[in-house]
């Protein structure tokens, strides 16, 4: 039997904080007592250009560290959705921002105003990545809420803890409103 392995791909453009979001999810998985690796892929640009972070979570040893058939995809840009929408695990879900145009895919798409919530409700579009972490946590339960909160407090810059917690809770709320 194959080990239980959860793969997450966070995709968008450089500067959206996807790598930090990946680090937080991996850190949370470790706090939950699991094994986790986080990798990244980006172009030579400092801002803009395609960027993605990948997280693999498992109860077992993780040999191959990259994502091939993710159970969860976050796409914050049209380009990201179109690139990755056709390659998921059979029961995979795609979470897209409301600014992203829906596309044909055999997988379930959940569309939420992630960037808008960060910008208008929290007041800082910068924390869209943490709103997204909240959405992923609430929707998929790949990591526990306690662990993700601790991971955020460990990894975000000093002085921004409250702002980021608010962003996380706003992400949870977006999912609550779905039902």
């Amino acid at each position: 039997m194959m080990e239980e392995r959860v793969e997450i791909r966070l995709s968008g453009s450089g500067g959206q904080g996807l790598i930090l979001a990946g680090i937080i999810l991996a850190e949370a998985a470790i706090l939950d007592g699991k094994n986790a690796v986080q990798s990244q892929s980006y172009g030579p640009e400092a801002r803009g250009g395609a960027s993605r972070a990948e997280v693999v979570i498992s109860n077992d040893e993780i040999d191959y560290p990259k994502v091939t058939k993710p159970q969860v995809i976050l796409a914050l840009t049209n380009e990201a959705l179109n690139k990755f929408k056709d390659n998921l695990a059979p029961d995979g879900i795609i979470i897209i921002d409301s600014s992203v145009k829906k596309a044909d895919t055999p997988y379930k798409i959940v569309q939420l105003p992630i960037i808008e919530t960060a910008r208008d409700r929290i007041g800082r579009s910068m924390v869209a990545n943490i709103v997204a972490v909240g959405v992923i946590t609430a929707l998929t339960k790949v990591v526990s809420r306690e662990a993700v909160e601790r991971a955020i407090l460990k990894r975000v810059p000093k002085g921004t803890e409250e702002l980021n917690k608010k962003a996380l809770y706003a992400g949870y709320e977006l999912v609550n409103q779905l039902t």
Partner: protein
């Protein structure tokens, strides 16, 4: 090593700095370059806190020079770079080989040649690690596959470098350098540290810096500035350290430099065998590529395929014995590497026609995937 630290998420490049500091590194000079930049960044933050020095130099050539100077003066020193910078460091790496100055050079490989692909992985510097600098010279090259292994191997790189007075290359790649992974670090007290051999000056009337006092090919080293003056030159030199063109002096020096490595292969060479006992096909790999191979072998073994892996942790000196001692069942060797085919040349020389040696090469900026390894093994087994 006993584990004491709590599990934490650590990046490969960060583990390199932590390993270096645990090994006793107290000097770093470098010129940041993707995908090795975090090594410089973290070293700059960590070194002053342990009483060490960090210098960002004007370029890679100067960085390598500063590392050699610091090591001669007694500090354990390291620099880190990627392909383009590794090219620039080669001249001074040769100087360190000939003058026998311990130092660690980290190359986090990216796509090449030239500026190539800064953010993408490759394993194209395998041959450069061996022959990047000119002339016959000794060198040790280690290649880690896991973040925890980066920590352990950086320590080992310092230990081997100090013990044999030879530059040691830590050949990483973008995947393992940038990967963040769950690690538990060992108790610092349990880490074995080797320091360079020093002469007993009370028993020596006049210290010759390149005299083989102990007969093991490794001259004991006095740190510069400790009151024993000596001469260090990149010219071929005799035991006094001064230049010589005499054939016997030349031959003696070059053979002694090579002997330091060749007499100690069993200690320097390290590898991991995975399911090789009854394998018909063995996949030889190293660095991050080996992780794809491990996954592929696990999957193929479940299907009953007789396949195994030989993961090279030491690349140079090349582990010829590990190839030659593969079991009699082995017919095929697949060499999986993220380049156009470099290590395969050496594996082929080692196989001496006993095995079919087949390359699995990828040079498009992406890690070889387990599926690609599986497909190659199936193809080879079908044709066998």
């Amino acid at each position: 090593m006993t584990m004491t630290s709590k599990p934490r998420l650590m990046q490969g490049n960060e583990a390199c700095v932590e390993g270096a500091i645990a090994a006793g590194m107290r000097f770093y000079a470098g010129y940041p370059i993707t995908p090795s930049t975090e090594i410089a960044e973290i070293a700059a933050e960590r070194l002053p806190k342990v009483g060490g020095k960090f210098i960002q130099m004007e370029d890679e050539i100067a960085s390598m020079g500063a590392v050699i100077g610091a090591s001669l003066a007694g500090l354990k020193a390291m620099t880190a770079t990627s392909g383009p910078g590794f090219s620039l460091k080669q001249e001074n790496i040769g100087f360190a080989c000939l003058t026998e100055v311990p130092c660690v050079v980290v190359d986090v490989q990216r796509g090449g040649p030239s500026t190539g692909q800064p953010t993408l992985p490759a394993q194209g510097d395998v041959m450069q690690a061996r022959w990047g600098t000119h002339g016959d010279h000794p060198i040790i090259t280690l290649s880690p596959s896991y973040v925890r292994e980066v920590f352990d191997m950086t320590i080992r790189a310092f230990n081997l470098s100090e013990k044999y007075r030879v530059p040691c290359i830590l050949l990483m790649d973008e995947v393992v350098g940038h990967l963040r992974e769950r690690v538990e670090l060992p108790d610092p007290a349990s880490i074995k540290i080797i320091n360079r051999k020093r002469p007993d000056l009370s028993k020596i009337e006049y210290y010759n810096p390149y005299q083989d006092y102990d007969g093991d090919g490794i001259p004991p080293m006095v740190n510069f500035g400790e009151g024993v003056p000596y001469h260090v030159t990149g010219l071929i030199h005799d035991i006094t350290g001064f230049p010589s063109t005499k054939p016997e002096v030349t031959e003696y020096l070059i053979s002694r430099l090579m002997r330091k490595i060749n007499d100690n292969l069993d200690e320097i060479i390290d590898y991991e065998k995975f399911y090789t006992e009854d394998s018909e096909t063995v996949v030889v790999s190293f660095g991050s590529t080996a992780r794809s191979v491990i996954r592929a072998v696990k999957i193929l073994r479940r299907e009953g395929q007789k396949v195994g892996m030989l993961r090279l942790k030491t690349i140079w000196p090349f582990p010829h014995k590990a190839i030659q001692e593969l079991p009699p069942t082995t017919k095929n060797i697949i060499v999986a590497e993220m380049n156009f085919g470099q290590l395969i040349e050496v594996v082929g020389a080692s196989a001496k026609g006993r095995f079919n040696v087949i390359g699995l090469n990828k040079y498009n900026g992406e890690l070889i995937s387990p599926d690609e390894v599986i497909a190659k093994v199936r193809e080879v087994n079908k044709n066998a």
